[in-house]
């Protein structure tokens, strides 16, 4: 009976218990790892705790809102995001050699973060009343909705976020049932665009990253250093790891960015293959649960929104773990719920909030 009461309570506050448990498990593990990877700096852990707390509060808040409000606001959020991106281009701060931040006096934030939510929302909004699979004209609209922020963000340059935003759009199109033939054609087109992209869009340091990815040992003290040290950290962890607080690569500063982008390496060093696979399993569980929830959504808008938000989360987890283990080139994406800091944490939690809202309001269509 008590179980039931609890179930009712969570239903009342619009939270999905399995997903919540998955998120809490990953976040809790992340805090434990961060304590070690951050040289046992309690301030770091507390700061991350605050940020996670804020993320969960935002998630909880968004879960309460009925999805039709998201739908109503979608085009405006999207347009505001585009406007902010243009503003950043004009007046943005230059941080780490890239224009990403908009300083609003009180807070600095990255408008590109908004687009991670706005593009799935806009895609859902755009296809909501259109028959699926999409028609040519509608396909063009979807592509434009995705391509405009993608180019703006890539120009900042922030390849990681551009990748996320672009993929969000692509996932939405895929979930909208775009025919395999078209997708194959688009993929070919994209492949053909890569040389153009390489020449005109990508900056030198990004090209360098890709080149270094292809052969990290070519630059062992420069860009290749990160990935070499990261592989050493992971590899030396072995099956069971060196144990918590015993990772030498992270504790002796050999592993760069050990508590942020490369925290997966610090984790794998101390917890080994077993720990790393457990984490991957947790991520898979979260994604599977989220997709299940998306599939249960009542209409096109909510399905596409929930589905592409889920895949954004997957993209983060996959690209980061792939990059840190040397499977993918170095792209500055954090490991979601694990890496210290970053506004992306708040964005991701907001995404889960929307997902929870969609699922808990599945009996009420958005129109």
């Amino acid at each position: 009976m008590e179980q039931n009461d609890n179930g009712k309570l969570f239903k009342l506050i619009h939270l999905d218990v399995p997903l919540l448990l998955g998120l809490l498990a990953v976040s809790g593990l992340g805090m434990i790892v961060l304590y070690s990877a951050g040289q046992q700096n309690m301030d770091l852990v507390l700061g991350q705790g605050m940020r996670l707390g804020l993320g969960f509060v935002i998630m909880l808040a968004l879960a309460q809102a009925p999805p039709r409000y998201f739908r109503l606001w979608s085009p405006w959020i999207y347009l505001a995001g585009i406007a902010l991106l243009l503003a950043v281009m004009a007046v943005g701060d230059i941080s780490k050699g890239a224009q990403r931040w908009l300083d609003l006096g009180v807070i600095r934030f990255q408008p590109s973060e908004i687009m991670k939510l706005a593009v799935p929302m806009m895609m859902g909004w755009f296809f909501a009343e259109k028959p699926l699979p999409p028609r040519w004209l509608h396909l063009l609209g979807g592509v434009l909705i995705t391509a405009i922020p993608f180019v703006l963000i890539a120009e900042q340059p922030d390849l990681g976020t551009a990748l996320v935003v672009g993929s969000a759009g692509a996932f939405a199109l895929f979930l909208a049932g775009l025919s395999w033939i078209i997708m194959f054609g688009l993929a070919l087109l994209l492949g053909a665009a890569i040389p153009l992209f390489w020449t005109f869009i990508m900056h030198d340091y990004q090209r360098q990253r890709v080149l270094t990815f292809l052969n990290p040992e070519s630059d062992p003290l420069g860009t290749g250093y990160h990935i070499i040290q990261s592989k050493i950290a992971i590899g030396s962890g072995g099956i069971y790891g060196r144990g918590w607080l015993n990772g030498t690569q992270s504790h002796l500063d050999f592993l760069p960015e050990g508590s942020t982008d490369f925290i997966f390496a610090a984790f794998s060093e101390e917890f080994g293959l077993v720990g790393a696979c457990l984490l991957l399993a947790l991520y898979f569980f979260i994604i599977a649960r989220s997709l299940y929830m998306a599939a249960g959504a009542p209409d096109t808008y909510t399905r596409l929104l929930a589905g592409s938000l889920t895949l954004i989360f997957f993209l983060y987890a996959f690209v980061n773990s792939g990059m840190v283990s040397g499977l993918l080139p170095v792209v500055g994406l954090p490991l979601p719920l694990f890496s210290y800091g970053g506004t992306s944490l708040v964005t991701i939690m907001a995404g889960f909030g929307i997902l929870m809202s969609v699922y808990s309001h599945r009996r009420t269509p958005t129109r």
């Binding site: 009343e129 259109k130 028959p131 699926l132 699979p133 999409p134 028609r135 040519w136 004209l137 396909l139 996932f171 895929f174 979930l175 049932g177 775009l178 025919s179 395999w180 033939i181 078209i182 040290q229 592989k231 050493i232 950290a233 992971i234 590899g235 030396s236 962890g237 072995g238 099956i239 030498t248 690569q249 002796l252 500063d253 050999f254 080994g272 293959l273 790393a276 696979c277 991957l280 399993a281 898979f284 994604i287 599977a288 997709l291 998306a294 599939a295 209409d299 096109t300 399905r303 596409l304 589905g307 895949l311 997957f314 987890a317 996959f318 773990s321 792939g322 283990s325 040397g326 499977l327």
Partner: protein, 646 residues
């Protein structure tokens, strides 16, 4: 079909314009979501298999790389052993010298600190330039030397204010030091900084962390004994290379102390006795081969070589006509001159070409049968009728021309070879030369023509192609004094473990003895040598001697006189004067010292070389040392037999 119709057509599908069908779309979404879930699974499986690759298949490699990252091996260079003479007089030790070091990361304002330091000690522009160069190359936590060899006064002035200067430190290091300076330098040698050519043949592990290596003399020959063994510590470092903690430590094994057979008091006497002559005194204990003194003049101070002698001083030493860097005892080659005659006589007796009664008439010259060429005797008027004894005592050349002619070069070579002529004596000092004991085979090889009888005559009086080192002469004299018992000359008396103070005595190295058919042959030539002193060419040094000496004078020609020319010392420039030679041993009934003396351009052996030998023998046998400053030293040898040769 209008454009609008075409655009509204679902791609890849039929031309039917469908209305929105939520159920169908929901099913479509579900299928697509399943596809994506499989892609997600595939993605994570790809990462997982990458992890298996890194953490299982290549685990060991990455563990090694990780350890290499974190663990540094630091060499711990050993302390070099000291060198003492036979009485424990300290000859080489390690002095603490002080230098000023600055640790960059602890200094807030480097310029201000420099100003402060400049007020207290002298800093040259070169010091500062070198410092800045080193700072750029060093990590911020490493101390960088600013000034070397601080004086006591400078240390005192700095010490007061050091607490106000964070990051400034006075550091101590050990520098090899030779307290007796030039005395005995040709035995001791010196250490110097390891140079390129040495890097190729030393064990890099043993020498990592070391900057110095023995260059010449005992320092070089006993490098392995003196050096000790390098220790190691494993240090955990962070990514900047800053040492965090010591993981394990193998302490270095300090080098052994070395006691030499040399008596520095005797060495001082010998070096002083040469008195202005470039030349050599080698004194051996004939009973065991111990080198008692090995003086080669001129000498030099080895101390500046330790940390790199300046170029001008080195050039001066290296280009000096007197060649102070040359160890003449081992590396100087001289014709033995008449000092070889007792051995020639012995060879004559051994092969039966003479006996001690047979005589020769000396008209002042010698002619080979059927030749008009006159081989001159040093005494123009001739010695008249001479037997062996008088031939040695008066150094009659004609007697030995005849003897050598009758022996022939082959037998001569065979016999003298037993005394280590023409090959190294095997002394434990590096760089010894072989000299040259000529043979027919050698001349054919080197000069492409045959051996002449005249060549034999020259060799018979120690001239011609015959070349010896002073050490070979002293060694041969020692063998005569022992009537054939032969010891390899050596300078190592004992080694001492610096920790336990346990000494290990070096045993004498006996060589195969020189055997003659009749032991009385030895007595015959020794009698001749005694008569050199007692009424012979060196009669003057016999005057007032409290022991009996056996010796032989010699003169080595620096240039060859023409057939009609007359040697006139007064008319010749000094560098063309003959070398004066003298070999001797004493006392004759129980020989305890064998000496070879060469005074370059000293003229006659009896006049110049013999008195030097007498001084040395007096000092050793009667303990007459004029330099009282070389007292048996701060670390006296224990009394387990290191002193006593008397």
């Amino acid at each position: 079909m209008s454009l609008e119709e075409w655009l509204n057509r679902p791609p890849g599908m039929d031309l039917l314009v469908r209305e929105k069908d939520n159920t169908a779309e929901s099913e479509l979404f579900f299928r697509r979501a399943l596809v994506l879930l499989s892609i997600v699974l595939a993605g994570f499986l790809a990462v997982a298999s990458r992890l298996v690759y890194l953490q299982v298949l290549h685990h060991e490699r990455f563990t090694t790389l990780s350890e290499n990252n974190r663990v540094r091996l630091q060499p711990l260079p050993p302390t070099r052993g000291f060198i003492f003479d036979r009485n424990g007089v300290l000859l080489a030790d390690n002095l603490t010298s002080y230098h000023l070091e600055i640790t960059r990361e602890q200094v807030q304002d480097l310029d201000a600190t420099m100003m402060e330091l400049r007020e207290r000690i002298e800093l040259t522009d070169a010091d500062i330039e070198r410092f800045h160069k080193l700072v750029r190359r060093s990590p911020p936590y490493a101390g960088v030397p600013l000034r070397f060899r601080l004086t006591d006064e400078e240390i005192a002035r700095l010490a007061i204010d050091l607490y106000r200067l964070p990051g400034v430190e006075i550091k101590a290091d050990l520098t090899r030091h030779y307290p007796l300076e030039a005395l005995g330098v040709h035995i001791l040698g010196y250490v110097g900084r390891i140079d390129e050519s040495e890097l190729s043949h030393i064990d890099p592990g043993q020498y990592s962390g070391s900057t110095h290596i023995g260059k010449v003399g005992v320092e070089r020959f006993y490098e392995d004994v003196l050096r000790g063994r390098t220790g190691w510590q494993q240090v955990e470092t962070n990514a900047e290379g800053r040492p965090l903690r010591i993981l394990s430590r193998t302490p270095p094994v300090p080098g052994q102390h070395v006691y030499l057979t040399v008596d520095m008091r005797l060495q001082a006497v010998a070096e002083k006795a040469l008195d202005g002559y470039n030349g050599v005194v080698v004194a051996l204990d004939p009973r065991n081969g111990e080198v008692l003194a090995l003086a080669s003049q001129p000498t030099y101070d080895p101390n500046p070589f330790v940390n790199g002698i300046d170029f001008a001083s080195y050039r001066k030493l290296n280009t000096s006509k007197d060649r102070p860097l040359l160890n003449r005892a081992l590396r100087g080659v001289y014709p033995p001159g008449s000092t070889i005659k007792p051995l020639m006589a012995l060879a004559g007796l051994e092969y039966g070409v003479v006996n001690r009664h047979s005589g020769v008439y000396c008209p002042g010259f010698y002619r080979l049968p059927g030749s008009s060429h006159r081989f001159r005797d040093w005494k123009r008027s001739g010695h008249g009728s001479v037997g062996m004894d008088r031939a040695i005592a008066q150094s009659c050349d004609v007697y030995f021309y005849d003897l050598a002619f009758n022996l022939g070069i082959d037998r001569l070579h065979e016999f003298l070879d037993q005394f280590s002529f023409g090959r190294q004596t095997g002394i434990d000092l590096s760089g010894e030369k072989s000299g040259l004991l000529p043979s027919q085979e050698w001349k054919r090889r080197m000069h492409k023509h045959g051996w002449f009888a005249g060549d034999t005559l020259s060799v018979g009086i120690g001239q011609g192609y015959f070349l010896t080192t002073p050490l070979q002469l002293a060694h041969a004299t020692a063998v005569i004094s022992q009537k054939g018992v032969d010891f390899k000359p050596r300078v190592l008396l004992a080694t001492e473990d610096p920790g336990t103070r346990i000494k290990t005595l070096e045993p004498p190295h006996q060589l195969p003895p020189v055997k003659v058919k009749n032991a009385q042959f030895w007595d015959t030539i020794i009698a001749g040598m005694i008569h050199v002193i007692e009424g012979g060419t060196a009669y003057r040094i016999g005057i007032g001697a409290k022991y009996r000496i056996a010796g032989k004078t010699g003169t080595a020609q620096v240039f060859t006189l023409g057939q009609r020319e007359k040697y006139n010392a007064r008319q010749l420039p000094k560098h063309l004067l003959d070398h004066a030679l003298f070999v001797a041993f004493a006392p004759t009934d129980d020989p305890r010292i064998a000496v070879a003396v060469i005074a370059e351009h000293g003229g006659g052996g009896s006049k110049t070389a013999a008195p030097i030998a007498r001084k040395v023998m007096d000092a050793w046998l009667l303990s007459k040392y004029d330099d009282t400053s070389i007292a048996p030293g701060s670390l006296p040898a224990s009394d387990d037999g290191l002193h006593g040769t008397e």
